[in-house]
């Protein structure tokens, strides 16, 4: 064993995780683990008791995130994490509910719940881990797959324009909108802590490498290459007009804008309730 690093058996964050389930099922170079890690780190720093955090996810690689965090956690059906979470968050407003899922789950099949929860200003923090494809089923295109990108369902290149998710989130009323990448764990952590303590519908898009489903067919290579791509191209611009935040991955030199784009006060959705009568 090398000198310098002390070999141990557990990580300080293990208490925030279902450590007995590690290692997780995700591929080497996948960024989802980093998001889970940053999320639990933010939980510890949020000032909100761990027991009052709830995590809800849908289906797909990112949907598996809920299975690794040591809070009440619910791994639901494809696309339905947001209405499921709405049930928890509106019935128990004292709980802090975070939805962690992927681009396919949240914005393909789950797109309607996304726009309605934002419109209603439901008290949810929604993390969309965007790896530009359906990883769990082996790399098909989705609504964030860039133009021209190769995938198992776009063998000649994707010919659909992807969503600009921050712009969409703003158009439907999110109180907080940010975009970071897995590389920006420090900014992501700060964004998470800030968003956990806000009202309304809060949305963070997190760009993440997927070497298996996206990197490989698009000649990006492994996870670290995708990360270096982010390092090279990301531009922080918190004040940018969100009409400009499309991601055009096929233009290798175009900027990818990241930042804390929207941060407004908007009270959380609270259905009319006099008091709970149990």
């Amino acid at each position: 064993m090398s000198s310098g690093a002390i070999v141990v058996e557990s990580h300080p964050a293990d208490t925030l995780l279902r450590a007995e389930r590690l290692p997780h099922i995700l591929c080497p170079g996948c960024g989802i683990g980093s998001v889970v890690h940053t999320y639990v780190d933010a939980i510890a720093a949020s000032g909100i008791p761990q027991d009052k955090h709830v995590c809800v996810s849908g289906i797909g690689c990112s949907g598996r995130a809920a299975g690794y965090v040591n809070v009440d956690s619910y791994h639901t059906t494809h696309g339905r994490s947001i209405p499921f979470a709405l049930g928890i968050a509106t019935y128990r407003p004292e709980l802090h509910v975070t939805v962690i899922s992927g681009d396919g789950d949240l914005t393909a099949i789950g797109g309607n719940h996304f726009i309605h929860a934002a419109r209603r200003s439901v008290a949810l923090l929604v993390l969309c881990i965007n790896n530009f494809n359906y990883g769990m089923t082996g790399g098909q295109a989705g609504p964030t797959t860039p133009l021209s990108a190769m995938s198992r369902t776009t063998p000649h290149g994707c010919w659909e324009r992807p969503f600009n998710l921050p712009f969409l989130a703003q158009a439907v009323g999110a109180s907080y909108v940010a975009r970071w990448t897995v590389l920006h764990v420090r900014q992501l952590r700060a964004a998470l802590i800030h968003a956990m303590n806000k009202e309304g519908f809060r949305f963070i898009e997190i760009l993440s490498p997927c070497p298996t489903g996206f990197g490989r067919p698009n000649d990006i290579g492994d996870g670290i290459s995708e990360m270096q791509n982010y390092l090279r191209r990301c531009v922080v611009d918190n004040g940018i007009d969100l009409r400009q935040t499309d991601i055009d991955l096929t233009q290798q030199d175009s900027p990818i804008y990241v930042g804390d784009f929207v941060d407004v006060d908007r009270p959380s959705f609270r259905p009319q309730v006099v008091q709970h009568a149990h």
């Binding site: 690093a5 995700l26 080497p28 990360m227």
Partner: protein
């Protein structure tokens, strides 16, 4: 751009902390994030492989005292296989 730190205004006057690297080699899947993005280039791959067959991070020869406990390797690790702790003073323990 830098993703590592937001430089504080009084950076020059601050004392840089020192850190100790800890690893859980058998969790590592060799993604290379910690090694590539360590701001002090403290880490490198081991020659040995872990029980899943991956090379894992170790501290480079000569870099044992360079860790500044910035936590970047920790936070970015998808496998929770590495972390650092702040050292009160030199030298690093267990090196």
């Amino acid at each position: 751009m830098s993703v590592h730190t937001r430089v504080p205004i009084d950076a020059a006057s601050m004392q840089v902390p020192r850190g100790q690297v800890y690893t859980i080699p058998n969790r590592c899947k060799g993604c290379n994030f910690c090694i590539q993005f360590c701001p002090k280039e403290v880490l490198e791959f081991s020659e040995a492989i872990n029980n899943k067959g991956y090379h894992f991070p170790i501290v480079r020869k000569g870099k044992e005292e360079q860790c500044i406990h910035c936590r970047f390797c920790d936070l970015i690790c998808p496998e929770l296989a590495i972390f650092t702790r702040e050292l009160e003073s030199a030298p690093a323990q267990g090196a």
